[in-house]
């Protein structure tokens, strides 16, 4: 595959910039965004239609979705093991924080987009179930000695079941959903959960369906983030909540350097040793650097039409939870 001459100027720009960053013994990777990103765009834009980023690479837009699909297809089996290894188990705390912030009451319908192996949905069902049990217990305690009027009033409503919480896991990748289904079976979760293949930019659901929409560690892999946000707005009921858990920018410079060193040195090595796949995890850490920071993302959410957009930083900004409402 001989390189086309059109791509040569881009490669020259790439090489000069790369060598400036990667000297013979410099650690790989650099956290700062470079403006040569826009240089790539204008050079390649002329040659091959619109292009976007795939980690630190530049790829045509049509290609990104396919390459992301391949990455997750190959990591699906070891996804959960790798998450634990890379984040030293902290990703569980992050997901728990998301649920606590959500504080869902029983009877809600959740859309877990890019839900993959189902972590958020499992937690959601567990949370609402324990809240439900608490409510029932409370009600039982309050009804220790009912008067005959209360008993009579209770007769009519026996057929009425309290609304069940439901979670729909939607992911573009069938391999991830397969792993998620297996996990659900092992955990013994049978009711209230459904698995749907779908693209976050074009959800296979009608308007105004869900009470809560979450997307955890998925939105940075989407090619057109604005479209995903608009779809989220569409499928939420009025009053529904949008929540996004995603890697973000670390503001503290010392922590940022440690985080970068860890990301670029350790994580691909872990990927190679545990999953036998260096490149997918190199993509992972690069894609984190390409994602907009907290404020920019907040503006994007507001632009899509959400109100009361807020964000909370976790672990010093390594991860941020953004939340907005559809009114």
């Amino acid at each position: 595959m001989a390189a086309s001459f059109k791509e040569l100027p881009r490669r020259i720009v790439q090489i000069r910039n790369r060598s400036a960053r990667f000297g013979p013994r410099n650690p790989l990777g650099n956290s700062t965004f470079r403006t040569e990103v826009s240089a790539y765009r204008c050079c390649s834009g002329a040659a091959a239609g619109r292009s976007t980023h795939f980690g630190f690479e530049s790829v045509p837009e049509g290609e990104k979705a396919e390459r992301v699909y391949k990455v997750f297809e190959s990591v699906a089996q070891k996804y959960d093991v790798m998450n634990d290894a890379m984040s030293l188990g902290i990703h569980r705390l992050w997901k728990d924080s998301l649920l606590r912030l959500m504080n869902p009451q029983p009877g809600l319908k959740l859309l877990d987009t890019a839900g993959g192996t189902g972590d958020i949905s499992f937690r959601f069902l567990e949370y609402t179930r324990s809240v439900r049990e608490g409510q029932l217990r409370h009600r039982a305690r309050a009804n220790q000695t009912p008067s005959w009027q209360e008993i009579a009033a209770g007769y009519g409503s026996e057929g009425e079941e309290p609304a069940e919480s439901r979670a729909v896991v939607c992911d573009i990748n069938k391999e991830m959903l397969k792993v998620g289904k297996e996990r659900a079976e092992t955990a013994g979760i049978t009711t209230g959960l459904s698995w749907v293949v779908g693209d976050a930019e074009e959800l296979p659901f009608n308007d105004d369906q869900f009470d809560v929409y979450t997307i955890a560690f998925g939105i940075r892999n989407v090619t057109h983030i604005e479209q995903a946000l608009q779809e989220a707005l569409r499928v939420l009921k009025p009053g529904g909540r949008f929540m996004c858990l995603e890697f973000s920018k670390v503001s503290n410079p010392l922590l940022s350097r440690l985080y970068d060193a860890y990301s670029f040195q350790m994580i691909p090595v872990l990927g190679e040793v545990i999953a036998g796949d260096w490149k997918s995890y190199q993509y992972l850490v690069e894609s984190i650097r390409r994602f907009p920071d907290q404020e920019t993302f907040k503006e994007m959410i507001e632009e899509a039409g959400f109100f009361r957009v807020q964000y909370v930083n976790l672990t010093g900004g390594v991860v941020a939870i953004h939340s907005g409402f559809k009114l």
């Binding site: 595959m1 001989a2 390189a3 040569l8 490669r11 020259i12 790439q14 090489i15 000069r16 790369r18 060598s19 990667f22 000297g23 013979p24 013994r25 410099n26 650690p27 790989l28 690479e57 530049s58 040195q265 350790m266 691909p268 090595v269 872990l270 190679e272 040793v273 545990i274 036998g276 260096w278 490149k279």
Partner: protein
Amino acid sequence: MAAFKLPRYTYNVASLSVNGKFLARQQHTIWSSDHHYGMLYPGHIQTSPLQKALLAVGSGVAALQNPYRHDMVAVLGETTGHMALIKLRNRMRNDPEGYTILTERPRIRLSTLDISSMSTLPDGSLGREYLRFLDENKVTPDTRADVKFVDDEELAYVMQRYREVHDLLHTLLGMPTNMLGEVAVKWFEAAQTGLPMCILGAALGPLRLSISRLQKLMGSLGPWALRSGSRARCVLSVFYERRWEQNLEELREELNIEPPPIKLSAKSKKGS
């Protein structure tokens, strides 16, 4: 290794593989659709010294825990073998046949072997015995992992050649691919190449053998392998692809390898 190279125009990659031979003399940066900077050969991944150290430790642990993870054994070999590879390469350069190999870069793949003509060769010839070995042990030369973490293109080829010659070594030594045979070959390779991964494998391999096999190893196979390994001519320097018709015994004599003291059959493959 220079970090900054003036961008070279991609010379036609088709010329890289003519009749299965990998022609490349100097270090050219290879452009591929992967856009990975500093890629010295297809499959190359640039790593910093820290990453190499982490890889060495991680792959070592992973390989010990699960010896069937051949990719981890391969990574361990690549990250720890720099000095040994340099010595091997120099040995090859000093040998006329080895020098030809370094220039012509032959690869042993099913696609480059002419199976039908090789099977018509007389019994006892290298080609015929090699095919018999592949058949009996149900292996193929195409399962070798590509080299990823060696930061010099010529050394990467030496490593790749070492991996591809491994099966031929089994044939030369007459060892099957069960645990005992593998350990014997590892001892030979450790004595020959000095690769840390071979030495580690040679030291830890016997731990998984049963007592009777351990006795065979310590008694006759082991010393024979070490002797042959240290005395033999560099096995990587032999252009096997041109010697298929040569008689196996003759080849062994030429390379200074003693014939195996015990005959091991591939049927005894019931683990260790």
